[in-house]
Symmetry: C2
DNA sequence: TCAGACATGTAAGTCGTTACATGATTCA
DNA sequence: TGAATCATGTAACGACTTACATGTCTGA
């Protein structure tokens, strides 16, 4: 049995969020779900063991949150050593984005099915993507407006952008972190839009093959 | 124990390729590398054990290729039962495409680094994507031309499109499978183009924050 | 002749999810 | 009072990669 598994990228995702401010494991999970879900995810099964490991390795420290009464809540803080490791990871070259797209596999392999089956797959995919598009553009709008006002609507966005909570209103304009958040969101929106455009193209192409111009039924 | 049988997608990727024609494990690996790499991958460590399993479960049969002399080469053929399972998988809803993009994570977490670090990350990503773009459009061109001529340039494309090998020339026009292949390739090209466009946007946005209009140095 | 492609396969480890187990707090 | 959310964590499984081990065949 292995002592503790190493877990590579999860470490840096955590360290990166801790570089903003001290957080609990639960906070980290929610932040990733709310802000990074279109390009990253972590499960509790990864998160908690990795947090313990970071403490053992001196990259973070753990203390009990005194405000949480009888409920245990551990808040983790990044150490100088942790910041150093984070910085060094940021300088390393990144893996190519690897995507596993089950729909495309099915579509590719649907050549022996009736043409309508390929069309059905395409329509399903399009609907799926359309739904996400609405989700993302909604977040984008809320965040853009909040950033323009220098005020963020709730504690979530507050943590995400690391701005001062409302009241004050940072006024100075878009904060660096808020801009980065907005841009990653935009990356997701553009990706979806390119898929929607592709769906329309593909449906047309397949239909025109089914009944090509000049064909006689 | 879990009542729901585990969903192994490798099985269906294999079954799907076998539904075109009998293939060896090595063939399957090459086909996936050459044709599906932008949305799918399988390693030998997955492939060979899964092939054995398919035979045990009666979804494929294995026979020794007699033309391969002393070198062992096993050719797998899909069974009726295998086709049934494949068809049923094709009808199931697909998982949302899940992507893990290490670059975006770094970019998102680079807010505490100097602005130039974010720019460097962006430039690196752009170059990476540009290189892949050239790769894909090249394949796309070759394949498009081959399909138009009704003749495919080598045995690879021949297998991929499941057309008759050269000589004859299918003439009748774009085969169904060739169209599907072209379209999945096009999906990859559009995705990359959307990333390139995003990079340009993002670089501009970050630069303009560094020295906003009207700012005095 | 020798590099590189063809060809099969396994062992060990990396990576990641799901289901479970436990309990506190909040608010309708 | 009871559902939702806050909060921690583990065990078992599932998915996937890498490195290795072995040997054949082809063509410059």
């Amino acid at each position: 049995m292995s002592a503790i598994p190493p877990q590579k990228k999860t470490r840096f995702a955590i360290l990166g969020l801790l570089s903003w401010q001290p957080l609990s494991g639960y906070d980290i999970k929610k932040l990733i779900e709310m802000g990074l879900s279109h390009f990253w995810s972590e499960s509790y099964g990864q998160l908690y063991p990795t947090l313990s490991q970071l403490v053992v390795q001196g990259l973070a420290t753990r203390k009990t949150d005194p405000t949480s009464g009888k409920r245990t809540r551990y808040v983790f803080t990044i150490t100088a050593q942790g910041r150093k490791e984070l910085r060094s990871w940021l300088h390393d070259p990144s893996d190519l984005p690897r995507m596993r797209n089950e729909f495309l596999l099915k579509f590719f392999l649907s050549g022996r099915q009736p043409v309508d089956e390929s069309i059905r797959l395409l329509t399903e995919y399009r609907d799926q993507q359309q739904a996400r598009h609405e989700l993302y553009t909604a977040s984008q709008k809320i965040l853009t407006r909040a950033v323009r006002l220098g005020v963020l609507p709730d504690e979530v966005a507050h943590i995400l952008t690391h701005d001062k909570p409302a009241g004050g209103g940072s006024k100075a304009g878009t904060s660096r972190q808020a801009l980065l958040f907005l841009l990653t969101l935009r990356h997701g929106v553009l990706a979806i839009e390119s898929r929607l455009a592709w769906c329309d193209e593909a449906i047309k192409a397949i239909r025109s093959q089914r009944s090509p111009a000049g064909a006689r039924s």
